[in-house]
């Protein structure tokens, strides 16, 4: 029954470092959970996506000292991080990031954190105005990509395990019953109900090619005129992974660190090269890079769309640039 969820979370916080959605002003944020009452599962979107758990905004990756150089950070703690109540779109973002950081060259910093993360994902029954995960194949429910999946069946939750870690987690649920065909039937109905509630949709058929054929579409001139190049879309995007790498050092250069920081393709300096050259000096070209990466280039780079349809960029944009409108315009809309 639903009340048992709280005692389950109570047991989880003893074993894991648990993070979950908590109110923050008028919004929500994934924060440390020490007691089950702190969690608000009935949340909309968190301000920042979950990428903050895979790499902080700024991090020293190397340390130079006494003529030597060694990787940072040192190994982390043994306690696993459990993200409780993750939405499907956010859970899907991990598959994009995994491809970037563990495919050809494995970034240990990312891999260690990723292996240390356990997810309890919650299917969405009430998509928001800006949500379009149903178009991107990343929600409102998932077939894979979770340790545990919860589906709200009004008077109870359907709990499904998606990994060996999930099997362990679900074993400690108090008074759990084995789900039967009726429960799965209800899950199916709940997904169908949720699907009807989406207000935004993206037609992804041939979208990657159509995007590249419309690089000179008149909308880019319009967007260039209104865009502030503030970079909020990139900051809140769950799959935006670009970083800058720079060195810091003491005045003597005897010791120092190499620091990796979140970076942002819509900022002017991003595409600068030697001698002041810049291949994306134009503001429209920069926002087009963000849109193109999300709606087109990901297919060639990772075999799937980079965009997971969370709608955060739409919500964050101070001038109402809407990625779903861009997707419809390249189709001639």
């Amino acid at each position: 029954m639903k009340n048992d969820l709280k005692s389950w979370i109570g047991r989880l916080v003893d074993v894991y470092t648990v993070y979950g959605p908590r109110p923050r002003g008028n919004n929500f944020s994934f924060e440390r959970i020490l007691s089950p009452d702190e969690i608000s599962l009935d949340y909309s979107k968190t301000i920042l996506p979950l990428k903050k758990f895979l790499g902080p905004p700024s991090e020293a990756i190397l340390r130079f000292e006494g003529g030597g150089v060694r990787p940072l950070p040192e190994e982390g703690g043994a306690r696993k991080t459990l993200l409780f109540g993750v939405h499907c779109c956010d859970a899907s973002s991990f598959t994009v990031l995994d491809k970037v950081f563990t495919d050809e060259y494995k970034d240990d910093r990312y891999a260690r954190r990723r292996e240390n993360i356990v997810t309890v994902v919650m299917a969405c029954s009430e998509p928001e105005e800006t949500c379009f995960c149903s178009s991107m194949g990343t929600g409102p429910s998932l077939e894979r990509g979770y340790d545990v999946l919860l589906t709200d069946l009004e008077d109870r939750y359907l709990v499904e395990s998606g990994s060996p870690e999930g099997d362990i987690l679900t074993k400690i649920i108090p008074r759990a019953t084995t789900p039967g065909p009726a429960d799965f039937q209800e899950k199916k109905r709940s997904i169908e109900e949720a699907l009807k509630k989406f207000k935004r949709r993206v037609d992804t058929d041939r979208l990657p090619e159509l995007f590249l054929k419309n690089l000179d579409h008149p909308m880019w001139a319009h967007i260039r005129d209104i865009d502030l190049a503030c970079g909020q879309c990139v900051l809140v995007c769950p799959t935006c992974y670009c970083s800058d790498i720079r060195d810091t050092s003491e005045l003597t250069h005897a010791s120092g660190e190499r620091v990796r920081e979140w970076d942002c393709c819509v900022l002017l300096e991003f595409a600068e090269v030697a001698m002041g050259g810049n291949f994306r000096r134009d503001r429209g070209a920069r926002i087009r890079q963000f849109m193109g990466h999300n709606l087109s280039y990901g297919i060639e780079q990772f075999g799937r769309f980079k965009c997971v349809g969370c709608g955060r960029c739409i919500q964050a944009c101070p001038v109402h640039i809407d990625i779903t409108e861009v997707a419809s315009k390249v189709r001639g809309g």
Partner: protein
């Protein structure tokens, strides 16, 4: 597995001045095993670290010699390159790589090779010239068109005589301007003004070009006008890679990563992509 961001230590064995602001650094990895394993294709690049100052990508201007040492030719224009410029022989730097896809020297076998370079775009093509010289019978005719702003900006001037001695090889030089007193006896004009003298034809040939993107734009136009096909024109692109391993996102051109899919591309692979001056 080794951290891909951790540079290998290397020493600068030799420094040779090329022009007033450009030097060729001969670099050798300190670790013997790493040095033996280090193999590189012409046109690939490395990430060079000056600890505490920063890291930047540079193409190699030679393959490793029998001693495992290789050249990189660098113009001092920014923070890192200016700090490099102040180093003495024996200095220790960091090296990662090599990375990326170089010139198609294998598929060029049996074909005529046309090299068109501008300014600091010549160094990444030098290993191609060396390879063709070493395996001369494997390749068709070699033609090199090289342009720089002024005569004193030309890189590797001591090597031109040797290049011209390679069998079936032509070398044409040009400068944008030749100030009085420089004794310049070659062409004056941008590199495309050498196209009238060009002997290479589209038939069974491959073009490799590197230089400022605006130069390559006119080179590509000129070549297409001469009926060279987009899949026989190879360009080496410059973008500011911060990681070299397709993780920092800085060098993307549409779906392509210059660090991983390039830096050498066939024109046909990048035609129609955004944010290219080509």
């Amino acid at each position: 597995m080794k951290d891909p961001y951790l540079p290998e230590k290397a020493s600068i064995e030799k420094i040779r001045s090329e022009t007033v602001d450009t030097k060729t650094y001969t670099v050798r990895l300190l670790d013997e095993r790493k040095r033996t394993e280090f193999s590189v294709e012409p046109g690939q690049f490395i990430m060079v670290s000056l600890f505490g100052i920063g890291e930047a990508p540079f193409s190699l201007s030679s393959s490793p010699n029998s001693d495992g040492a290789f050249d990189t030719t660098i113009r001092a224009v920014g923070n890192i390159t200016s700090a490099l410029d102040r180093l003495q022989e024996g200095a220790i730097i960091g090296v990662r790589g090599p990375y990326g896809r170089g010139w198609p020297v294998e598929s060029a076998r049996g074909k005529d090779v046309l090299i068109i370079a501008g300014g600091i775009g010549l160094p990444p093509l030098r290993p191609v010239i060396t390879k063709i010289a070493e395996e001369r019978s494997e390749y068709g005719r070699l033609e090199i068109l090289y342009g720089a702003r002024t005569p004193d900006q030309m890189i590797f001037p001591d090597e031109y005589d040797d290049w011209m001695k390679i069998k079936e090889t032509r070398l044409e030089l040009t400068v944008d301007s030749a100030p009085p007193g420089t004794g310049w006896q070659h062409n004056v004009g941008v590199v495309t003004t050498l196209f009238d003298k060009m002997k290479t034809t589209p038939e069974n040939s491959l073009v490799m070009t590197c230089g400022p993107e605006i130069m390559m734009r006119f080179v590509v136009r000129g070549l297409l006008a001469k009926k060279f096909a987009p899949d026989q024109i190879c360009v080496s692109l410059e973008r500011r890679m911060k990681c070299g391993i397709a993780q920092c996102g800085h060098c993307q051109i549409g779906p392509k990563y210059v660090c991983k899919d390039g830096p050498v591309f066939k024109l046909s692979e990048i035609q129609g992509l955004p944010d290219l001056a080509l």
